[in-house]
């Protein structure tokens, strides 16, 4: 809750840049990467031993990282399609781009399989140009993500997004083919001894700037929005900036540092994925809090509503639920089915007779009968069929009439309780008013699964306390 509140305020005023745990971690990581980069620059030229044969875990890490990038792309683009948030669109596209490059790199790795083949034997080895292209695309689009205001609402819809992603991947495959075809004619990026050439170093210097600038902007944007995706993306950008910078610092392909950087890069990709998942977790907890709040508000509304109706009817109409009615009524002494209009007369007659035998006076029997007639009529009108039962209580009877109809809409209930006079004559209101006036208390439980009305009649009318004006008097 704390977090979401902060997020709302932060994005509203846009400039409250207070530190939090993730931000502190970003700063610490930035310092650590800077020290490490400095160290690499100072020991320039002293490269470690080149490992041969090339270990299997290099392509495995690449493959793993590529899968992580595809997950990021999927989740980020999915998030964009729901939230229409430009940052996740560009992060998704960038991750897809680098993911494709790494997938080619891993799948065309020579000697990966036992017996010495690559996974896709028919494909030529991935040109260094293509991998460089992928990493630069990634850096560029992450930079765009930190600043972009578009695409927003209506720019790119769900189907458009799928088409666009497919086109993007198709373009990358085309770029792969072009890189393969043109590799011979392009300047070499890596010498046969594994040293990096000037074009690659220059390229990486540019890429390092892309990632470093991106990291700063993303961190800034994170402080504005407190979006965990951006916070963790800043980690990835720092790691990438460091790793491309490290090549300029004199690292060679396949030396110890080179391997270590693979691991750092894969880890930073996981950080982006982690950031996305954190947002989902936050979203889920926010959603739960909101649901709980809505439920609480609903309950309060219902309680308010029940008390208002009870107060307006002098405590004679109690809106409740079916279980409470069962509890109040106790076991049935007799029950009837309501099917046709003639049942009104039949059930009414039976109940009036039973009540009379129990000692109710004539007038109270008749009044119970009329109230019952109203309840049964409502069943026939609104549900078609239902049932009635009679229950004995300590000081009288309760007649319960229930159906499985559509229920009384909540908004109609105040009319039942509050409206007076002719305006209710043609609504559900009259019937309920008659029930309320003619019995001692009416319990009403209504919902999607039907309506239950319980009519309570005591042997003697309850004494009305002087503090209350009876409904009958106030109706005059």
């Amino acid at each position: 809750m704390n977090r979401s509140e902060r997020g709302i305020t932060a994005s509203r005023d846009g400039a409250s840049e207070s530190a939090d745990g993730l931000y502190r971690a970003i700063v610490v990581a930035a310092v650590a990467f800077a020290i490490l980069a400095l160290y690499l620059l100072l020991r320039r030229g002293e490269t470690g031993p080149v490992l041969t044969p090339l270990p299997w875990f290099v392509p495995v890490i690449a493959l793993f990282q590529s899968l992580a990038l595809f997950s990021v792309a999927f989740l980020a683009l999915g998030r964009h399609s729901v939230l229409r948030d430009p940052a996740s669109f560009w992060i998704g596209m960038g991750a897809a781009g680098y993911g494709v490059a790494l997938a080619f790199y891993a799948l065309t790795w020579p000697d990966l399989l036992p017996g010495g083949g690559s996974i896709i034997a028919s494909l030529p080895g991935t040109p260094a140009w293509f991998v460089q292209f992928g990493i630069t695309i990634f850096g560029g689009l992450l930079l765009v993500a930190a600043t972009a205001r578009r695409p927003k609402d209506e720019d790119i819809g769900g189907r458009m997004l799928i088409v666009l992603s497919a086109a993007w991947i198709a373009f990358l495959i085309l770029a792969f083919s072009l890189a393969v075809a043109a590799e011979e004619h392009l300047p070499s990026l890596v010498t046969s001894t594994g040293a990096f050439t000037i074009p690659l170093l220059a390229w990486n210097a540019v890429a390092a700037v892309l990632f470093a600038a991106g990291a700063i902007l993303t961190t800034h944007r994170y402080l504005q929005t407190r979006d965990a995706l951006l916070g963790y993306t800043a980690f990835a950008q720092m790691a990438f900036a460091f790793s491309v910078l490290a090549t300029v610092g004199g690292m060679r392909r396949y030396d110890l540092w080179w391997y270590m950087l693979r691991v750092i890069l894969a880890g930073s990709t996981l950080a982006v994925l982690f950031g996305l998942l954190m947002e989902y977790v936050h979203l889920y907890s926010r959603e739960r809090e909101r649901t709980a709040e809505v439920l609480r508000a609903e309950e309060e509304k219902l309680a308010f509503y029940r008390r208002t109706i009870a107060a307006a009817t002098g405590g004679k109409l109690i809106v409740t639920d079916g279980h409470d009615i069962e509890k109040v009524a106790g076991p049935a002494v007799a029950s009837w089915e309501i099917r046709v209009a003639d049942d009104i007369r039949g059930i009414r007659g039976d109940i009036e007779r039973i009540a009379s035998d129990m000692g109710f006076d004539q007038s109270r029997c008749e009044r119970l009968g009329i109230a019952l007639g109203e309840a049964i009529t409502n069943v026939l009108k609104h549900a078609g069929e239902g049932e009635a039962s009679l229950h004995k209580t300590d000081d009288g009877v309760i007649a319960v009439v229930s159906d499985r109809g559509p229920g009384i809409p909540a908004l109609a209930l105040p009319d039942v309780a509050l409206t007076r006079g002719y305006s209710t004559a043609e609504t559900l209101g009259v019937g309920y008013k008659v029930m309320i006036e003619f019995t001692d208390r009416v319990y009403l439980a209504t919902g999607d699964d039907g309506t239950t009305v319980a009519l309570e009649m005591k042997y003697r009318p309850p004494e009305v306390l002087p503090a209350f004006v009876s409904h009958e008097e106030s109706g005059q």
């Binding site: 209009a341 009104i344 109203e374 002719y422 209710t424 004559a425 009259v430 006036e437």
Partner: protein, 116 residues
């Protein structure tokens, strides 16, 4: 329910017995033909009614609309205290141009004779 339309004066409809959801439609039809016959007004005599619920109120309202839309008068004879209560609860007793009487004589003074 027994509906009697007076032979002497077709404007008097006496309903005895039970009026409920099961027979209110029949009552509506009788009211309709009575208003056609006596557009100047009708008398609904419920003094012999033993049971009536809001289905009866609907029928009375139906008759009231037919009569007043033609400019006629309407009177009701009520004796049963429960029926009186129901008329009061539903607000029918306050309708302009609908007179409530304790006996037929009172009602016959209010509603003019049928012309036809």
């Amino acid at each position: 329910m027994i509906i009697e339309v007076s032979e002497l004066s077709k404007r008097v409809i006496r309903v005895s017995g039970v009026i409920d959801y099961g027979n209110a439609a029949e009552l509506n039809r009788v009211f309709e033909s009575a208003v056609r016959d006596c557009p100047r007004g009708i008398i609904v005599d419920l003094s012999q009614t033993t049971y009536m619920d809001s289905a009866g109120v609907q029928a009375v309202l139906h008759a009231y609309r037919l009569v007043t839309s033609g400019g006629g008068a309407m009177a009701m004879v009520l004796q049963n205290p429960n029926t009186r209560s129901i008329m009061r609860i539903s607000g029918v007793d306050k309708l302009p141009g609908l007179h409530i009487c304790d006996d037929l004589a009172c009602a016959e003074e209010i509603v003019p004779e049928c012309e036809r």
